[in-house]
């Protein structure tokens, strides 16, 4: 395969080379005999590729260029174009950034010396996953897209089942594999229909298809199912919590921070093919989005497993992004420039933001698991004293994900709120105003979920002895977290600069969305927001300094945190995660269906008893698992075809071939 070069030096080529380098980064480790070297080579390669890739993507965004390459292949599916436009470049940013950070983190988190059997595969597939995602963003041939898509999905599977000796991990892997392949099947339908419509597998140019034909509706639906299954939009989210919880933490960071965005990329890209989308599309996206956001965060509140909580919050964030996209589509259909601008900007900015704070939190959870050996929040506590730096970075992440100023999560949600409130004055689509309280509810629940997470892990006193003496993480684990934390703060403080990243991306797909007066207006608003954030930040710093100064002067009495003034307190007196969230969960019990076992307490001295609150996967356990069981019973006759005799299998192929030949005659 050779790439015909069209320019002399261009960042697009650098990005492509970086993508390929990422894919090859794990290969030395497979060959080299000595353990550990391969992982370091992979980390160094990924970091270099990541730096080069991020720089190249930024250059392409700022210079607003589109570069086209032709991949010479001998397959009969038409020409294979690799195109990097600013929109792809925007998505390339998190791919390079997060995969580089994760590979550095892996050196400390999954050291080759301790994980001899799994490290090689993990390193190799991490590189392959990152590479396939980067190439996916450039693919403009339907067949090539599906090929790369499958490489991505399967590498993620192999990463996910790294600890396959555990039953739970294997189960998560199977659920993921089925979900992703149902999605791929939908994508096959989508790309075949698309090829039938346009006459070639090359993806159509923006706005070249009519959205009103019946096939367009089927195409859009297939794409929504296929890409939505990867992105984790409700009701296709069933694989997500268990997959993210059971993968190694840096893999969860990449999966949640980047891989979900590939599904969103697909949805965004598909929508650009059609001009004048009907109002219904935007409405469906908005409704699915806000439902995902609300239910996702509700599930998150109820979780006891730290990583499951983070995974559920990914569903929430994907929901927020989808809502933004849906609102933007509604604006597009009703020719409302402000609405489509705000929806799209909010959605894209939230994609960037989520790919900064979610990896930060997942990496943080990795450090915590590394230190305590458990994912159960109710068993932790008081870790903040042992690992103050991790606690600080994690704190930044939680504030950002809750959408609290002055951090980046606030900025994107702020844009969405602006969009909703503008509708009050409009003639059409006034009901969008109702989304504002819903989004506020989501934000409020997020605060509950992450207060629970942070306080039950880092604050209070240790709940079991084995988690009592955590050690601070090494530099390889702290540096990636620090980078993400810095970027979260940076975007929160200078949001108008982040807008400069988003604008070219929008202009590449919907040039009509960017008009100078609208972007100037919101640029000015964000500038004011930036000043407010700076003010807030300095107020926080001043308050912290004052507090420290005062603490230094007075005598501090040493007692246990949340000891409630008891003389002989025990750590079991503390509020734990479950008790903290109990009220919030009980409100949503209709959806959540907690499994609760509570003893009856009577008398002055009740006997010793147990109390269990366990969240359930409602959709998976009540709907999908019975469905699959039913299908299993229905297709039991297929078992007879499985003889175990190779010759008979050959006969099947032979018979098929023979019948086809007769048929052709």
């Amino acid at each position: 395969m050779n790439l015909s070069l069209q320019g002399i030096y261009d960042p697009a080529l650098v990005a492509l080379i970086a993508a390929v380098a990422l894919g090859c980064s794990g290969i030395p480790g497979l060959i080299l005999q000595k353990t550990g070297i391969g992982q370091i080579i992979a980390a160094v390669t990924s970091i270099l590729a990541g730096l080069a890739g991020v720089t190249a993507a930024l250059q392409m965004l700022f210079s607003n260029t589109t570069t086209t390459y032709q991949l010479q292949w001998n397959l009969p599916f038409g020409s294979c174009e690799l195109v990097i436009d600013p929109f792809s470049a925007f998505f390339l940013l998190p791919v390079f950034l997060v995969s580089a950070a994760a590979s550095l983190f892996a050196v400390g988190y999954w050291p080759a010396a301790e994980h001899r059997t799994t490290e090689r595969g993990l390193t190799f597939f991490s590189g392959l996953l990152a590479s396939s995602m980067a190439i996916l963003l450039t693919a403009r041939n339907g067949v090539f897209f599906i090929m790369v898509w499958e490489v991505m999905a399967l590498s993620a599977y192999f990463l996910l089942v790294t600890e396959h000796e555990r039953e739970e991990v294997r189960r998560a892997g199977i659920v993921y594999l089925i979900a992703t392949h149902i999605g791929t099947a939908a994508l096959f339908v989508f790309f075949s229909l698309l090829a039938a419509e346009t006459g070639s597998f090359t993806l159509p140019a923006a706005g070249s298809l009519s959205a009103l034909s019946p096939s367009a509706a089927i195409m859009a639906l297939a794409a929504f199912i296929g890409f939505g299954a990867k992105a984790g939009i409700m009701p296709f989210h069933v694989w997500l919590p268990s997959a993210h919880a059971n993968a190694p933490s840096h893999v969860s960071a990449v999966m949640s921070g980047v891989m979900l965005k590939m599904g969103l990329y697909g949805i965004f890209r598909t929508l650009t093919f059609f001009h004048d989308p009907p109002l219904l599309w935007g409405a469906i996206l908005t409704v699915c989005g806000i439902t995902s956001a609300l239910l996702g965060i509700t599930f998150a509140v109820a979780q006891r497993d730290m990583k499951r909580l983070l995974a559920c919050s990914s569903i929430e964030n994907i929901g927020i992004i989808t809502t933004g996209l849906g609102v933007s589509m509604l604006g597009l259909s009703s020719h409302n420039t402000t609405l489509m601008y705000l929806g799209m900007t909010g959605a894209l900015l939230h994609i960037l933001n989520h790919s900064l704070f979610k990896p930060l939190l997942f990496l943080g959870s990795g450090v915590i698991i590394h230190a305590t050996g458990t994912r159960e929040m109710n068993l932790m506590g008081g870790l903040g004293k042992g690992m103050p730096r991790v606690a600080a970075f994690f704190f930044i992440g939680t504030v950002a994900i809750c959408g609290i100023p002055p951090l980046n999560g606030f900025v994107s949600e702020f844009l969405l709120y602006l969009g909703f409130f503008r509708q009050i004055k409009e003639v059409s689509l006034v009901s969008l105003v109702l989304l504002a309280p819903l989004l506020a509810l989501v934000g409020g629940l997020a605060v509950v979920a992450f207060t629970k997470l942070y306080s039950s892990v880092f604050l209070g006193t240790p709940r079991i002895p084995s988690t009592a003496h955590p050690h601070e993480a090494g530099m390889t684990m702290l540096v990636p977290m620090a980078v993400f934390a810095m970027l979260c703060l940076l975007i929160g403080v200078v949001p108008q600069q982040a807008l400069r990243l988003v604008s070219p991306a929008i202009e590449a797909i919907y040039p009509e969305m960017i008009s100078t007066d609208v972007s100037a207006e919101f640029g000015a608003i964000l500038w004011r927001l930036s000043q407010a954030s700076l003010l807030l930040l300095s107020a926080v710093v001043v308050a912290a300094l004052l507090w420290k100064w005062r603490m230094g002067k007075n005598l501090v009495s040493i007692t246990s945190t949340w000891g409630c003034g008891y003389q002989r307190r025990t750590s079991r007196m503390q509020y734990n995660g479950s008790s903290f969230s109990e009220l919030a969960v009980s409100v949503f019990n209709g959806i959540m269906r907690q499994r609760v076992e509570r003893p009856d307490l009577d008398g002055l001295f009740p006997v010793r008893s147990r109390c269990i609150d366990a969240p359930t996967e409602t959709l998976l356990e009540r709907l999908i698992a019975p469905l699959f069981n039913g299908a299993g019973i229905l297709f039991v006759f297929l078992h007879r075809l499985q003889h175990g005799l190779m010759q008979v299998y050959m006969l099947y192929i032979f018979a098929t071939l023979f019948i086809l030949m007769l048929w052709a005659n």
């Binding site: 499985q642 175990g644 005799l645 190779m646 010759q647 006969l651 032979f654 030949m661």
Partner: protein, 213 residues
């Protein structure tokens, strides 16, 4: 030159019958090796001279004619089996079936829409007949080594078809096909080893005990 190619193809067809009709494994392997060498010569007859072609010819002859047969005969020697006993279908019926399939493939090829320059040559029928022979060997024999021979014959059939497709096959395709073959042989080698270690026999029908209940 095409008429010489046709005569060679007749030879290929005859070798198909040898591999269907013999029970001695070594003889069968040698026959398939000869078939491989003939196939290696064929591209040279069809296309004008080029170094690329020479390279392809050498590689094909080396792999199909020598490397794989050598690996197979070593496997036969180490497993100490000389014959294929009790095939699922006897030798005479398989031979008859092979003949019927050969006739059918000529009939089928006659109906295919082909380029005029290929119309009167035997490439397509020979290819299909060889493919069918491969399938017959695969479905009727028990021993793992016979299975590998079946794969080889089948691949040869595909190769003959490939000769028609392009003036000179793109190197990727050739490399891919050869790699497939080699990998296939390796995998079967591993399977053979495992079966013979597990069941102290090379009978693939014993693999049914691995079936999921």
């Amino acid at each position: 030159m095409f008429s010489l190619a046709d005569q060679l193809l007749v030879l290929v067809l005859l070798i198909n019958f040898i591999s269907l009709g013999t029970s001695r494994l070594i003889f069968s392997i040698r026959a398939v090796a000869v078939q491989g060498v003939i196939l290696g010569i064929l591209p040279g007859l069809m296309h004008p001279f080029s170094w690329h072609l020479v390279g392809i010819t050498i590689v094909i002859i080396a792999v199909k004619g020598f490397v794989i047969p050598m690996l197979l005969s070593r496997a036969v020697r180490s497993a100490e089996i000389k014959r294929e006993f009790e095939p699922f279908l006897g030798y005479v019926p398989t031979l008859l079936l092979g003949a019927i399939f050969a006739a059918l493939s000529f009939g089928f090829a006659g109906k295919l829409p082909m380029l005029p320059e290929h119309q009167y040559y035997m490439f397509v029928p020979a290819s299909i007949a060889t493919l069918m022979t491969g399938f017959l060997v695969l479905t009727t024999r028990r021993k793992a080594i016979s299975q590998v021979i079946g794969y080889l014959v089948m691949e040869n059939g595909i190769f003959i078809f490939g000769l028609l497709l392009a003036d000179a096959m793109p190197i990727m395709v050739e490399a891919g096909a050869l790699l497939d073959l080699l990998v296939g042989t390796f995998v079967m080698g591993i399977v053979m080893n495992q079966i013979s270690r597990e069941f102290s026999s090379l009978d693939t029908s014993l693999l049914t005990s691995l079936k999921e209940e």
